[in-house]
Subunit: 315 residues, 2 copies
């Protein structure tokens, strides 16, 4: 059975990764996840996007928030506040187990990729969960208030400062996870799907590694991006605010241009159908808003059919 | 107002420390606590006896178990088990905040004594909570199954291996916390109370520091030990099992002989009143079983009155 690669940031991307996972037989999806958001907090190594993918694919995620675990409790955070600890980053009691155990294993010398694939297996995930790299790549946001590490910008400051530029420290030299390179080089690969995560904050860290860009360009499979922008609005998060602050046109077309040279097709929302003709790559138009698991599977299936058509066309 | 020093291990000792704290005006008790049980687990620095004292004096302790926090939840441990983590040491969700925050502050270079006094203050404790030392002293238990670190012996193996000897790595060279030395040297000090903790496992690590022994011997205040053994049985824990395995007579008299040279008086249980005449030091006989807060205050008050009589006698 041929495989599919999903490239994902956090919540938005994980929805489509789940759609692909649910639409396909077990063990046919590899999810490459952003680690640019990773940070150390309270001495714990935290990988927010990898964890969102982990919880989403294992069915443990909170359906309301999109991040963190369902049925989470907050006794740790309450007690931490009582003894003067730093509580700006929300850590649920069950979620904490993941950070403590990952930190312990990283400090014992295991690689992030090995740890997360092992934990994904223990949580019953029948897909490969692949952090983009074992090396640190760190997203830095240059703002009107100075340079902020990603979580400071995103969580502590709630994306309020005006973004001037986004940089990825370590991206130029980080090695892509070997399993990621193998997955992208698979001659039978059906499709590479850039999921609807924030292109600038969540996908760009992945693309900041020259080895990753080269592997995507060399891949035989069609690369399809699914729009994170619908009718000039992001489904979730600060994508539109950031596009405005970076003086970009706020539209799906600008996202497609951002990925130009890497993508072979673009999935556009029905609401933006009129834009289709101006696109630099072939377009598939559908309702891309994913609320239910059914929505996610349908968008996944349509994206794969689109990839199939592109593949046939190029043969 | 003159002060009182309590020397305590875990649960048994903390009961009398609480009695002294409750019986006296605020800010008149200094509790010196064993750190020989401290260990690193899951990358966290854990101080079980200091934490038992902290939770007991702040009113947060679990009245049933005696250790840990009341109304504790266990989502962390359940989640940790689900991802293959080590769960032999019980860490509650709220309790975890203390270990994460202490570890963070220790790694940032703060001393254990400073951290614990700060946290004790934040939890409203109007006594000084003094870890015996900022330096690592580690209790090692030589057993018929080899040498075990304290928590391995005590928690993981539930005190099942037969004890041959107990050692305190680092005790010879560890410096006593300066605040402890100041407290013991106070010429106005009313009493130094060795609380009813396990003498071999919980008090001996404190006494393993030559500087501590010298300070106790030099102290002007009477040193009183309160019996951890009643009628040949320990109220809690493995004291009797260990005394048997170390070929000691299982009695309060053996405990008094163990402390000989350091103590000026011994509080013996009513059940053991017949032993009083054979004691090497003056004895006060009372019901030493402490179930209610009232019991704890009464034993505390009787111990202080006894100290007062000894002090008058020596003047």
């Amino acid at each position: 059975m041929s495989r599919v690669v999903a490239i994902s940031g956090g919540v938005g991307g994980a929805k489509l990764a789940l759609g692909l996972y649910a639409a396909l037989p077990p063990h046919s999806v590899d999810v490459i996840v952003n680690t640019g958001d990773d940070f150390e907090h309270l001495g714990l190594m935290i990988s927010p996007d990898v964890d969102t993918a982990l919880y989403t694919l294992s069915g443990l995620s909170d359906p309301q928030k999109g991040w963190g675990r369902r049925d989470e409790t907050w006794a740790f955070l309450t007690a931490l506040k009582g003894i003067g600890g730093d509580t700006w980053f929300q850590l649920g009691d069950a979620d904490l187990a993941l950070h403590v155990e990952r930190t312990r294993r990283l400090r014992a010398g295991e690689a992030l990729g090995v740890i997360m694939q092992d934990i994904a297996g223990r949580l019953g995930i029948k897909a490969r969960l692949l952090p983009m790299s074992n090396d640190p790549v760190r997203t830095l946001v240059d703002t009107d208030e100075g340079t902020l590490p990603f979580q400071d910008y995103f969580v502590r400051r709630r994306c309020e400062p005006v973004v001037r530029a986004i940089r990825f420290r370590g991206g130029q030299t980080a090695r892509v996870l070997p399993d990621v390179l193998d997955a992208l080089a698979d001659p039978e690969l059906r499709a590479i799907v850039i999921c609807p995560s924030n292109p600038y904050l969540s996908v760009d860290p992945i693309l900041s590694m020259p080895e990753m860009r080269a592997a995507l360009i060399a891949a035989k499979a069609p690369v399809i991006a699914v729009t994170p922008v619908i009718g000039g609005k992001a489904v979730k998060g600060p994508t539109v605010k950031i596009m405005s602050e970076l003086k970009l046109e706020v539209s799906a077309a600008a996202v497609a241009r951002h990925y130009q040279g890497l993508i072979d097709g673009f999935v556009l929302d029905t609401e933006d159908a009129a834009l289709a003709e101006s696109f630099p790559v072939p377009v598939h138009v559908t309702n891309t808003l994913m609320k239910t698991l059914g929505d996610k599977k349908r968008v996944a299936q349509e994206t794969l059919s689109f990839a199939e058509r592109l593949r046939e066309r190029s043969l």
